[in-house]
């Protein structure tokens, strides 16, 4: 690490990184290394809400999958399995401070050891678990709320728009459940897809390049199963118990955007 990074007392060195777990753990790696000198650091995610401050110095960290993996491995070995899982899940959340939260949690963990996950009253700890819970809960919901439609060529296609990065959690679930099907799940917010060829392992694909959206739109058609499913959903409700507020509380409107039974 470059010596001139260590500045005066009123400026904090802020490491900035991309939004995904690989980016975040690369930056946590650098920040941990830096803080071994005894100085504090902060982490921020680059993106729309990023507002540079006059009193901070910024250093961008590139994604480095090897470092990211090493970092997670270190958390697992030096703290615990639970800490590793918590930190990873927190990095999947959509909170602007998730990188910083993970960094603070990891630092605290290195100091305290495996007991750190019991310290739920400690802000550095409870924040990470709060974020981890959010990501885990949303992922769990998408196990149920994801809807596939069959293309003419038999490929099952699902479009989702989650707030947290749920693909790495839900793709293995569907790979186990539908090993013999060709399927893909497209996260339209992150422009990424999990692709699963029948009989093979699934992989993640970047779909930012042009042509992808058009390709999908050209294939989306109505099926007879859509209509049957809508029929079922409509008829399974008990009229004298109708309660749209309750329904909205359990299945907020934003989830319904890509759910067959709510599309017209």
């Amino acid at each position: 690490m470059n010596e001139n990074l260590h500045g005066g007392p009123d400026t904090v060195l802020t490491f900035t990184c991309g939004p995904e777990p690989e980016d975040i753990f690369s930056a946590v790696y650098e920040a941990c290394l830096f803080s071994m000198s005894g100085e504090g650091a902060a982490l921020e995610i680059e993106g729309e809400n990023f507002q540079p401050s006059l009193f901070a110095r910024y250093l961008h960290v590139d994604r480095d999958e090897k470092k990211a993996r090493q970092m997670l491995e270190m958390v697992r070995r030096r703290i615990s399995e639970e800490a590793c899982l918590g930190a990873y899940r927190a990095s999947l959340s959509f909170a602007q401070d998730r990188a910083d939260a993970v960094y603070r949690f990891v630092l605290r963990g290195f100091r305290v050891g495996r007991g750190v996950t019991d310290r739920l009253q400690d802000t550095a700890v409870c924040r990470v678990f709060e974020l981890a819970r959010k990501a885990a809960n949303e992922s769990h919901l998408f196990l149920g709320f994801t809807r596939f439609a069959a293309w003419d060529n038999g490929v099952l296609f699902a479009r989702i728009a989650p707030k947290c990065h749920v693909l790495p959690v839900i793709a293995p679930h569907f790979a186990g459940r539908m090993p013999g099907e060709n399927w893909l799940i497209y996260d339209e917010n992150r422009r990424k897809a999990a692709v699963h060829p029948a009989g093979g392992p699934w992989y993640m694909m970047d779909t930012v390049e042009s042509g992808w959206e058009e390709m999908i739109r050209g294939r989306e058609t109505k099926e007879e199963w859509d209509a049957l499913w809508r029929t079922f959903v409509q008829h399974i409700a008990i009229e004298p118990r109708t309660n749209p507020k309750l329904q909205r509380g359990l299945l907020p409107l934003w989830y319904r955007k890509n759910m067959t039974e709510f599309l017209r």
């Binding site: 019991d118 310290r119 539908m178 090993p179 959903v233 008829h235 004298p240 509380g249």
Partner: protein, 518 residues
């Protein structure tokens, strides 16, 4: 019997989902099963909710009747023989295609198959078996299957179906034998309890086989494993309410040795299909009702008290090892002198209170007799059952958060399973104060009347029954109104608000969610 004209699939689905919807069970939990190559499907023990219907109930399974034709005449049922409704039946192949195609699109977690009694109980059960066998063997379906046991069907058929299903349920429908006799003249306590007992034995034998006979069926310990305590001589079973679980119309009641059922292992082995053969190849074998059994009681069709209903539920958990008892507020459908008038509001608040109390039995170590008794046989409209118990037992409070054991913390209104677990973990490293509790997500609104942190109360309160009950009732009033009249706060099974049991609605009996995670 009506002549069956071929209806289009769409119309059949309308009729047979309409006819199935009054069954409250919607869960897909209780069993973990991995997927397998060339087969479709897996199962997750904690259950997965796929959608929510307009009434706010979770949709997890394709819940349909095989047929809504019925030779019986249960007075509360829309499908009863004497009703003039359009009848339809699914062919087994139709059920399979619907299930497979819905499942591939991730609409559902599996199938919930029930049926009216067409011709006879055996003929109906046979047809259900045919459909499930086709689905598991020919189609290789490995997803979740919940199936109804038809009262009166032969033990041998029940057993064969049990090897194809994950969960079975036989509905008790009415909490007392008299209620059943007057409203369901073709059924008896005995014809309902017999298959229930058979399924329980099958599951138990299987457990013994799996453990080489080392363990007995029940795991002791009343709170940690989410089961109520070992109180075998509950009044509901041994007499109590006009027979309780004993069929007063039958000789000999329903003792442990009343029936000799064929042993589960004495039946011919199954010819394995793609799904099951793979199990066998991996050293697995087909399992008997691995997700356990459940039942349902209709609430408000007959005059039983909450105490009677809850005692019956408790007895079912203890004596029949049920995984779940569901409560279904009666919806007035049939014009019948013995039933509430058509259009009577379903008693939703009462149903809600029963679910709350049921949770207290299963996860909080309460007993029915602590919550209600013969002198107070119905739940308090203003207070949830836990608050109600607490204000009547102020001598047990306040509880010191830094010292109280898990079971004691669970009895504090406002502290649920997760909060109690968090408290226990966090206090290992520090002495907790109120701001710490808040940071950990423990809600103090109700709890603060009942706890101290290092000897201090949150703010000074009078530990007086009427005062605290008044404060708590004020907090509850608005919500209770919404439960009864339909509003955002009311959540059928999740009970988020009342107990801070922040579990996903379908997560029932999911041990890992209670033990593993934070």
């Amino acid at each position: 019997m009506l002549v069956e004209k071929e209806l289009p699939l769409q119309r059949k689905l309308e009729i047979l989902s309409d006819a199935a919807k009054y069954d409250a069970a919607c869960t897909s939990s209780g069993v973990d099963r991995q997927g397998a190559a060339h087969a479709l499907g897996s199962a997750a023990a904690c259950g997965i909710c796929h959608s929510f219907a307009a009434d706010g109930r979770c949709i997890s399974l394709l819940k349909i009747l095989m047929t809504n034709e019925c030779v019986y005449d249960c007075r509360y049922c829309i499908n009863r023989r004497s009703n003039d409704v359009e009848r339809a039946s699914f062919a087994p192949e139709e059920i399979c295609t619907l299930t497979m195609e819905f499942y591939r699109r991730n609409y559902i977690e599996g199938l919930f198959l029930s049926s009216g009694v067409a011709v006879s109980p055996d003929a109906t059960m046979e047809r259900i078996y045919e459909a499930l066998s086709l689905l598991r063997r020919k189609y290789g379906f490995r997803g979740y299957i919940h199936v109804k046991g038809i009262p009166g069907a032969s033990p041998e058929l029940i057993e064969r179906v049990g090897y194809l299903a994950d969960r079975m349920s036989v509905n008790l429908e009415l909490p007392t034998a008299q209620g059943l006799k007057s409203l369901a003249p073709h059924k008896s306590r005995r014809s309902i309890l017999m298959p229930m007992r058979q399924i329980q034995r099958g599951i138990c034998e299987e457990r013994l086989l799996l453990t080489d006979g080392r363990a007995s069926g029940r795991i002791p310990g009343r709170i940690e494993d989410g089961r109520p305590g070992e109180h075998w001589n509950s009044p509901a079973l041994t007499g109590g309410f006009g027979g309780g679980l004993r069929d007063s119309g039958q000789k000999g009641g329903f003792g442990e040795t009343a029936f000799q059922l064929p042993s589960v292992s004495s039946l011919p082995p199954l010819e394995a299909g793609p799904g099951l053969r793979r199990d066998l190849a991996k050293g697995e074998r087909p399992r008997f009702v691995p997700a356990g059994q459940s039942t349902q009681m209709i609430i408000g069709a007959t005059p039983e008290t909450d105490y009677q209903i809850l005692s019956v539920a408790e007895a079912l958990y203890q004596k029949f090892d049920l995984k779940r008892v569901f409560y279904s507020a009666y919806v007035g459908l049939n014009d019948d002198s013995l039933l509430p008038a058509v259009g009577t509001r379903p008693p939703l608040l009462r149903e809600h209170r029963l679910y709350q109390a049921d949770w207290l039995l299963r996860f909080y170590g309460f007993e029915a007799g602590e919550l209600l008794d013969e002198n107070r046989p119905n739940f308090n409209v203003l207070l949830d059952p836990k608050c109600d118990w607490a204000v009547r037992h102020l001598e047990c409070f306040p509880v010191e958060v830094n010292r109280a054991d898990y079971g004691t913390l669970l009895r504090v209104p406002g502290i649920g399973v997760k909060s109690a677990r968090r408290i226990i973990r966090a206090r290992r490293s520090a002495c907790l104060d109120f701001p710490d509790l808040k940071k950990m997500g423990v809600v103090l609104k109700r709890a603060h009347y009942f706890i101290t942190c290092a000897g201090k109360m949150y703010r000074p309160v009078r530990l007086e029954e009427s005062f605290i009950a008044g404060c708590l009732a004020d907090q509850n009033r608005k919500k209770n109104w919404r439960v009864e009249h339909g509003g955002e706060d009311y959540r059928q099974l999740s009970l988020f608000d009342d107990m801070h049991l922040d579990m996903v609605p379908t997560v029932e009996d999911c041990r890992s969610s209670l033990t593993g995670q934070l």
